[in-house]
């Protein structure tokens, strides 16, 4: 409940303030969002499993975002940014899908 409320507040804040992302960080924002999405779904699944823990959630969220952005940044420096971000998206996408599948099993028992 509080999480859904937080999400709503966050969206409203973002719409209201429209924070400007520095130009240098702009390419890494989408990948950071995907990493955050993974962490959020992981947390949701853990919650439904009954093993949720704030600390683990916060740590996994922050580290996911930072590491994903850092990998893509490193790839950009090495000239393989496109390929590396594809790899990150594939891994995160697989994780998101299997997490969502587990959540679905919990919610619909199917």
């Amino acid at each position: 409940m509080i999480a859904a409320f937080g999400l709503l507040v966050g969206v409203l804040l973002g719409l209201f303030f429209r924070p400007d992302v520095p130009l240098g960080l702009e390419p890494y924002l989408p990948i950071a969002v995907v990493a955050a999405l993974d962490a959020v779904f992981g947390g949701l699944r853990a919650y439904l499993d009954g093993i949720f823990d704030d600390k683990v959630f916060v740590v996994s969220f922050v580290s996911n975002v930072v590491i994903a952005a850092a990998i893509v940044y490193l790839g950009d420096r090495l000239g393989v940014g496109g390929q590396l971000s594809t790899g990150v998206i594939v891994v995160l996408g697989i994780r998101i899908f299997s997490n969502v599948a587990a959540i679905r099993r919990h919610l619909f028992h199917a």
């Binding site: 509080i2 999480a3 409320f5 937080g6 999400l7 709503l8 507040v9 966050g10 969206v11 409203l12 804040l13 973002g14 719409l15 429209r18 924070p19 992302v21 702009e26 924002l29 989408p30 950071a32 969002v33 955050a36 999405l37 962490a39 959020v40 992981g42 947390g43 699944r45 853990a46 499993d49 009954g50 093993i51 949720f52 823990d53 704030d54 600390k55 683990v56 959630f57 916060v58 740590v59 996994s60 969220f61 922050v62 975002v65 891994v91 697989i94 994780r95 998101i96 299997s98 997490n99 587990a102």
Partner: protein
Amino acid sequence: MADEWDRPLPDHVTTPLLTRITEESMDQDYRQVALRKGSSPQTPRARRPRLVAAAVVVVFGVLVTTAAVQTSRNADVEDESRATLISRVNTERDSVAKEQDRIAALQNANIALEDRLDNTIADEQTATSRLRRLQVRTGYLPVTGPGVRIVVDDPPEGDVTELVRDEHLAKLVDGLWNAGAEAIAINDQRLTALTAIRNRGPAVRVNSQPVNPPYVVQAIGDVNTLQANLLDTTHGAEFFDLAEDFGFRIDRHNEDELTLPGASGPRLRYVRAGTSETSGKEGNQ
């Protein structure tokens, strides 16, 4: 050592990568923390307000919104630049088509001009060869060839009335023309259509230039027939009769190669050369 090799490998080594990713899609930490907590009796988890987690979710919402806003904002710019690019591409394509049309037109014009050039060159060659033919015929070009050299000299002991005169030389020249000579010169004076052989006093003038005896008449033509034909012609026969009467000294020889000078061109005062343009047009028509 052998024991270590025999031992089965751990799961995280043998499992395929994709399977591992799918199985560990949820962070292992949740489970481990839960196990640790499960062993300890007190569970304050449920009561504790999840403020930190809520704050992180707020951050997540801000992130997602920002990314979406940013993307939609950039979309406008990208659409605009894309539209600009498309219009530029179309404009350039039009101009390329125009240029290609121009290329085709220019190539056609080139072909036409080349045809004209070929025609003009052919005309020029025809004209040049015609000019050379005319120059040889009319005597304005030096020529060489086989022919006859006839040396005519005054009689050794004759008075003024018995000298070689213009009419004698004219008869000889007429005979040579009739016998088939193609070019004739007297003492290096080439005979042309304008040549006159005239006496002024005792001296003979050819082309208004005085010539002195012995008169060397050179004629280019067929060496096999020229002398015989000369005797057959009226003028030739008359000349030799006169020569016998007056006692001219005559020396006739066939030569393998005679070189005749060209006549100095007449000074043209009223005739003008046609310009190349008009001749080219006439050639095309």
